[in-house]
């Protein structure tokens, strides 16, 4: 299989899943579209270095998560230069999302996840939204399963606490 064929296979098999992951990180349809294109451009450029030492899925996903985190870090710096907070901007983005058609509780969940520290956010998105097994996640994030489980547990507790507060405010 040559590079083009492999790349097309990756697009066909993983593009939708990667888009959903990107969507969870950036909380915007247009930004997720942009980020997904950046991810696949990175995949295309890095293809010669893929020697099959990792599974294709974990290799692709690792690039996706790293690109998403890089993008968020750049956004954080740009927000700081405007004396703004990325957390506040994310909340606004979630509130004004024209492609969101869910419940207030789901919106509160998105906000709670967006407010998590970097590592916990990664783990929560991959575990809760993408339903990725810990063993796979361990290869994607290059972290031990035990550490991932601990991160997920802490993240879940934080999210639950925020949701309880939000539920009280919304009288749910």
């Amino acid at each position: 299989m040559n590079a083009n064929e492999l790349f097309n296979k990756i697009v066909k098999e993983y593009s939708e899943r990667i888009w959903w992951t990107a969507r969870r990180f950036v909380n915007s349809h247009d930004d997720a579209d942009d980020l997904t294109q950046d991810i696949f451009l990175k995949i295309w450029t890095a293809l010669p270095s893929f020697r099959g030492e990792a599974q294709l899925f974990t290799w692709v996903y690792r690039i996706a998560v790293n690109e998403a985190m890089d993008r968020l870090r750049r956004e954080k710096v740009r927000a700081a230069l405007r004396f703004a907070s990325l957390d506040a901007e994310m909340e606004k983005r979630i509130d004004n999302d024209p492609w969101f058609d869910g419940t207030p509780a789901q919106r509160a969940l998105s906000k709670a996840v967006a407010a998590l520290p970097e590592k916990q956010r990664q783990v929560f998105i991959l575990r809760y939204y993408d339903e990725m097994p810990y063993e796979e996640m361990s290869q994607v994030l290059e972290t031990s399963v035990g550490s991932l489980k601990a991160s997920y547990h802490i993240a879940r507790e934080k999210v639950e606490a925020v949701l309880k507060e939000a539920a009280a405010e919304l009288n749910l």
Partner: protein, 100 residues
């Protein structure tokens, strides 16, 4: 499949996304392996600039260092007194030109 949790997408979005992604291979510059020299070139540049900074710093320090003959005699006395009070076992040789 991933949980959607209230997020929608336009009809046919993923088909058009796939078409656009596939065209990356046609539009992006042809992929070629990066040679060893190109890979290490940035590190060589950092190392060279570090060496240059150290050499420049040494040069400046040498040029601005005060030689012994330029130190006034009264400052030498002060140093000698301080040295003696700090370390009674220190042996201080007074230059012949300085009065005890």
């Amino acid at each position: 499949m991933a949980k959607r949790c209230g997020i929608q997408t336009p009809d046919g979005y993923f088909d058009s996304l796939q078409s656009r992604l596939v065209s990356i291979a046609d539009e992006a510059p042809s992929v070629r392996k990066v040679g060893f020299v190109r890979k290490v070139a940035p590190y060589l540049a950092y190392a060279a600039s570090l060496v240059a900074a150290v050499m420049l710093g040494s040069f400046i320090l040498r040029k601005t260092a005060v030689s012994d003959s330029e130190i006034p005699a009264w400052e030498e006395n002060l140093v000698a007194e301080v040295l003696m009070s700090a370390d009674p076992y220190a042996i201080v040789f007074e230059p012949e030109s300085v009065n005890p």
